[in-house]
Each structure stands twice: as C-alpha cells, then as structure tokens.
Symmetry: C2
Subunit: 459 residues, 2 copies
Amino acid sequence: MKIENFQKLFYPKSVAVIGATKNPKKMGFHALNSLVKTFKGKIYAVNPNYDEILGVKAYRSVKDLPETPDLAILAVPRDAIYNSVRELLEKGCRAFVIISAGFREAEIADGEELHKKLKELVDSYNAVVIGPNTFGMVNLKADLNASFTPALSLLKKGDIALISQSGGVCHLIAPYSMREGIGFSKIVGLGNRLNVDFHDMLEYLKDDKETKSIALYIEGIDEPKKLCEKIREVSRVKPVVAMKAGRFEKADKASKSHTGSMAGNYKLYVSALKQHGAVIAEDLIELVSFAKALAMQKPMKGDRVAVISLVAGLGMVASDYCELKGLKLAKFTEETQKQIYEILPPYTIRDNPIDLGFVANDTKTCGEVIELAVGDENVDGAVINYIFSWSEEFLEVPTKAIIKASKEKPLTMCLNYPPGFWDDVKEELESNGIPVFSTPEIAAKSLWALREYDKRVRE
Amino acid sequence: MKIENFQKLFYPKSVAVIGATKNPKKMGFHALNSLVKTFKGKIYAVNPNYDEILGVKAYRSVKDLPETPDLAILAVPRDAIYNSVRELLEKGCRAFVIISAGFREAEIADGEELHKKLKELVDSYNAVVIGPNTFGMVNLKADLNASFTPALSLLKKGDIALISQSGGVCHLIAPYSMREGIGFSKIVGLGNRLNVDFHDMLEYLKDDKETKSIALYIEGIDEPKKLCEKIREVSRVKPVVAMKAGRFEKADKASKSHTGSMAGNYKLYVSALKQHGAVIAEDLIELVSFAKALAMQKPMKGDRVAVISLVAGLGMVASDYCELKGLKLAKFTEETQKQIYEILPPYTIRDNPIDLGFVANDTKTCGEVIELAVGDENVDGAVINYIFSWSEEFLEVPTKAIIKASKEKPLTMCLNYPPGFWDDVKEELESNGIPVFSTPEIAAKSLWALREYDKRVRE
C-alpha cells in the first residue's frame, strides 16, 4: 500500500505547492518555479494572499483545491506543517515532500515531539513523506522537479538513483554530473526521514525499471538492521553503492544536528553495509562513478586486468590504482603475447600494461590489440585509457573495437579531451554501454567496483 | 650558461620546425600547426620537399635557414636526428625539442647507444634538449606551443609549472584544467631526459618569475641525489608538489619501457622526496589541485581547521577528509563560540563544522560567521563549502567576507554549480587568491597541502 503511494510520489498526475509565493526570498517560490519549468501534469498553488503565482492559479487553502493532488510539496512555516498535512490527508493526498525544517534536527525544545506527532499522523494513512528538512527530489524521467532548485532539471536522464541524507551532497553531485554527462533516474534528499528511510527507498527502487544502480549517501543510520537486510535483498537484483560520512568524531557529531541521527561507528557500519552487499565508495566522486559503471556494465568475475593505453603514463597510473584496490595485472597467454608482439612495433610497450603510443594513428592496429588483450582467457576485465592529442584527423579512437571487446569482458575507459573535441566519441562509447571517465584513477577504481559487486553478492 | 639556453628554449624570438610537413599523418605537421596558431615570433619550416607549409616558408635544409633559430623543434625520422642536431649546433642553435622517439626507451639494439652519442654532442655545446620521445612543451605566457598538440594553447595562463615524465599525463591534466579553469605558466614533457632532467628544470624554475608553484609527475629517477638536493633548495623558495608513479611492480616495469628508467622502490623514493621538501600527491587530480592551492595561498602554520559550509553534508565530508589527512577540527575560543551562537539561529549547526543552511540567503550573516570563525585564534586555516541551489537571486556567496577572511588565514573553497551559473563568483574569488575546487574532498586535501608545505620546508 505504501508502495502504491510511492508511485504517486514519483509519477504524479497533479502536484500542489503549499506555501507557493511570489517572493523569491522564500522556498515556496523556488519549489513552484521548479515545477512550472518542467512538469507536464497539473500544477496547483496554495496561498491565501494570491490569485495567481508564476502563471499558476492560486487557491486560498487546501480545501479549496478543485481536486486531490497526487503529490503535495510543503514550504509553509514549520508550525503550519501539521495542520496542512492533516488537511491534505483528509482530502485524500498520500504523497508529500516537506521542505520546511525545524524538527528533530534542530536545537528547539519541541522539535522531536513535532516529528513524532507528524509521523503518527502520516503513518496512520499509509502516506509517504520525503523530508522534512529536505531540498526535495527529482524524477528526471517524469520531468518532475519537486525541489527548490530549478537548475536540477538540467541533469541528464539516466539509470542511476541517488538517495542522499544530505541535500548539499545532491547539489554537489548534480553539477559534477552535468559536466561529466552522468545521468540519473531519480535523486532524493531524504532529510529527516519521517517515514521514508533508506530501506524504504531501496524496497521501491528494487523494482523500478528506470533505475539500474542505486547510490546511497549515508550520514546517520536509525535502523541499521532494516537497512542491511534490504541491501542484501536489493543488491542481488541491482547494484547498491554506499558512501558513509562521519568517519571521524567531529563529522559524526555534525550528523546529529544535520538530519537528526548519530552517524555511529564508521568502521562498524561500513563493514556491515559491505557484508550485506553494498559496494563502498570512499568519496563523492567514487560514489557517482561506481554507480555509473555498475549501471552500464556487467559484474567482473575475476581479478585479472588488462590495461591498454594510448600513452604509457596513463597506463602506469591505472595499473597502480588497479593494484592498490587489489586487482592483478593479467599475464597474457603465450599465444596472445606472441600475437601482440607480431602486431606492435618495438617502440611500443607490448606487455601488460600495453602502450599504443607509437601506433596511435593506426586505428586498426590499436583496435586489434585491444580486442586481443581483452579477449585473452587470462583477462577478466580491462581499463582502456585514451586522451586527446595531435588533432581529430590524426588520432581516432578505435570505438568499434572497444565496443566489440566490451561484449566479451567488463571494461571501463578513461577518455579526456579539451571541451568540445571528442563529445561524439564519448557519446558513441557510452550509448554502447561503456562507462567513460576523466582520469585513469577513477576508470581503474570503477573497474574495481565491477569486481567488488560480483564478490559482494556472491558472499 | 645552460641557464641562458633555457631562456632561448622558453622565450625564443625564432623557432624552426625540422621535419615540418603538409602530411597531417605526421608529427611535423602538428608541431608546425601548434606554432602557427599562437606564436608571434619568427617561424621557419625545414623540409626539402616543400616551398611552403601552412603559410610558412619552407627551407631545403638547416644550412639554408636565413638566421639561426633560437629554438629548433625536431620531428624527423629517428635516424636523421643526430645529423640534424649537429647541423643546428654548428649554426649556433642551443635549444631543442626532440619529438622523435626510438632511443633508450625502445627495444631496439642501438637505442641506448644513439642516446649516449647524442648526449655527448649536445653537452659539448652546453645546449639544452627537451626529449627525445616527448610531445614537447608549452610556455603559455610566451604564447609558445612547442608541442604536437595545437589544443594545448587553449589552456589558461597561470602560475603553475607542470614538469612531467609522461606526455600522456600532461594531455590528461590539460583538459581537466581547462574545465576547472586551472592556469599554467609552463608545461614540459621531459621524455627521455637526454640532458634536461627534473633537477635541471627545478633549477631553472626556481628563479622563473612566472612560476609560483611546481608540479612534478615522476616515473623513474636516474639521479635521485641531485633531484632531492634540488627539491630541498627550490622548495624553500616556492612549493614543489610531486606525484610518483610505479607504486606496484607492473607499473614500475612499464616505466623502463616508457622513458628509459626504472621507477624504483616507490616508498623509498616518496619518503626521500618528502623529506627534502616536496608535498606528495597521491593522484593526478591531487597533483594539479595542490599546485593550484600552493600557487595561490600562504603555507598554513598549524593543524587546526575551521570548516564552514552552506550545507551540513559537505561540511561532514570536508571534516572527514581534513581528519583523514591529519588536520584537526579547531575548537573555537569561548568568545567566538558565544558570538556565533548569538548570530546564528538554532536551526543551523553552530559548532565547528558550521552549517549555514538555514541562513543561506542572509549573505551578511553568513559572511560575519565566516570572518568570526576564520579569525578565531584557535584556527590556523579554513575550508569553506558552497554549492549552488535555489537561484542566483536567492543565494549569494559572501565573497567580500571570504576574501577578507583569506587575508587572515590560509583557506580553500569548494564551489560547485551548474555550468554557467556562478562563473563570475569563481572568477572573483580566484582573482583574489582563493583557490576554488569542485568537491569538499579536494578542497580539504588542498588545505592539507598548505599545511604539509609548511612542515616540509621547516623540517
């Protein structure tokens, strides 16, 4: 029943913004603005002081709305939240985003009390609430921006669901992902997790056809057992990547004040998350990069890596990072090694890690070597490093061969180029399922994530 | 005397490309193309088969050149290198970039021999040679692109000199830096280091007024003692950041084939570089980020950090990374703490790490808190985290206060925003000496680099 209400939350036909306003200094303005810019369903504004806001008809109160909205976004003062939610529930609304703050995260006497009271109310209706104390959420594939930041609609549509306890972290990952071209299905800021916590989101996303991998940014955990059990269940269906903040005491303390729960013992939690099937990310770039690789590629079945690079330096860096994460540089079979020695001239490096530098503009040969190396029976996966040099006419990426090789084994790529130069190459590779990153380190670590996922779900 | 020739290398009035050609499948085409596009001095092409290439008059041989070029760029076949260089030396040329490969890095019988013979020749003239086996170098402030990649001229002019044993690494850092707006004075691919090695470059850059910090990407080290001594000397004058590849055996082995020297024991070398004054970077993003922070900010005199964030999540991540690197979250004095409690409402986090979330659009208050926290006598440096949310009208970065605070103590910033939204804000901050990064992790680690530099040069 709660799951049905998740459908209303993420795929509403109508949305009401309670506390919408013309004052651009208030959240209610931005929340309505986000909707107006992208949402194709019905939009209602509620505010007794206006007839119209941003071209949307405004109603005096929830009771005056001509229909029950599927989703209500609340940006009213904290003390008005309870009554607004009650009115909406009575009208039949079952999905809420509560942006307003001042609940159990705050140093206010009745914050905890108000949280409990509100939770009892919404639970009694089986309603779902994102927040309070959240920027909101976006469902990019439904053109739904239920947040106070219109610019989040600029994100690319994709297959990653990002579930975060911090809105700030979402606002950091979003522009990074815009620049890197990483796409999302849904981004949700859980805030104080009144009655939608990580485990609820995991349960919903398990069967969400628009999500291929799930990234979790976790500060505090209220119900570790439920979370771990759900990770075990969901990670068998699709990859779950988790980053846990609060490694040290100070950050840990900040978590309590932030969204109302202690971050707890870092090592203990991370080890539990891992044991239950999550791939652990150490930083925010890893979080989104691992989720990207896992959404695009199959798990890697062994530890043996081939590293093939246009230039030796990148190959060295990638090799170092593969080994740092516990992967092994593959020893090619004699047959493969012989063939590579026949194809490549002596200027190049013909052992693993392979350097194609001096045949760089011989696209056919580069492609052949890539296919040979990746296809070798001693190789379980590969990192391929290409960077732009010379000019587009001189240097061509052997995309066809890379795409063919990727059907054989999991692979990740580093492809970096001056703005505008190889966007089409990246597009071709990614539309064929090859995750492209900007540095050899993150390409290598993302290949490790493919291996780690395989290990986690088989333990 | 060698130093004088470095001036000709980096600030030539005339440049000749030996082996220039109209064939875009050859390096000689791209080397000339790079020059033609940006260089304002005299350009000569040498190739017996053409009268003109890319609008530049071509001469049949070096002997036919109407004047002695200050700098010669060689892209002739490997077997023609020795004679070309000899002719140029006899004509009076003393600075060379040798792009051609096939010397001691290659599995060719006489590679090592040719290397030695060429070295004896150029050394006898006190000439300087970048390469062989290099993409070349750029001196952005002289509009000199002496490389085979015209797009390197798109880099921003700045204060970092990047000296790399790998051209690939330069071609990776370049586009990253274009996107991040990181500027360089000079980028040099040392290649096989015929007679210009890291220690020679350090000696030259020590007095280079256009360089404020030096980034080294090192694979193998031929003369560790000379390098360490030069790092000790130069790091007392300006910061030196070093990244060492070849952490593991495989990468190490690749180094030999790459630019002709074994990478050697990673831990031993890194520890020696560090002891002599280098700040060690673990990856390529750290390398360029640390160099950026150190080019812009003063060293940090103690370990105590204030973390001030627009949103708590980023503050937690930054705090974790500060502590991971060994910095301590500062405990504010009672007076400062009291004042911050008076200024900030209870919804915010008023202890270190400070969260400004709920007063985000009160720019004046945010600025006051930043100045108070950074100015506190228990604070040695600060990380400030801002991300774009709501809209530009709603959220303003307190740039004036941040700039004022940065006069007191070293600080780094994380500022992230959708493409195009806050470019002017970043520009204002950076033109006032505040290094701005895209994630809280790298902002925190770069603050650590400011602390580490202080420690390294005082040990």
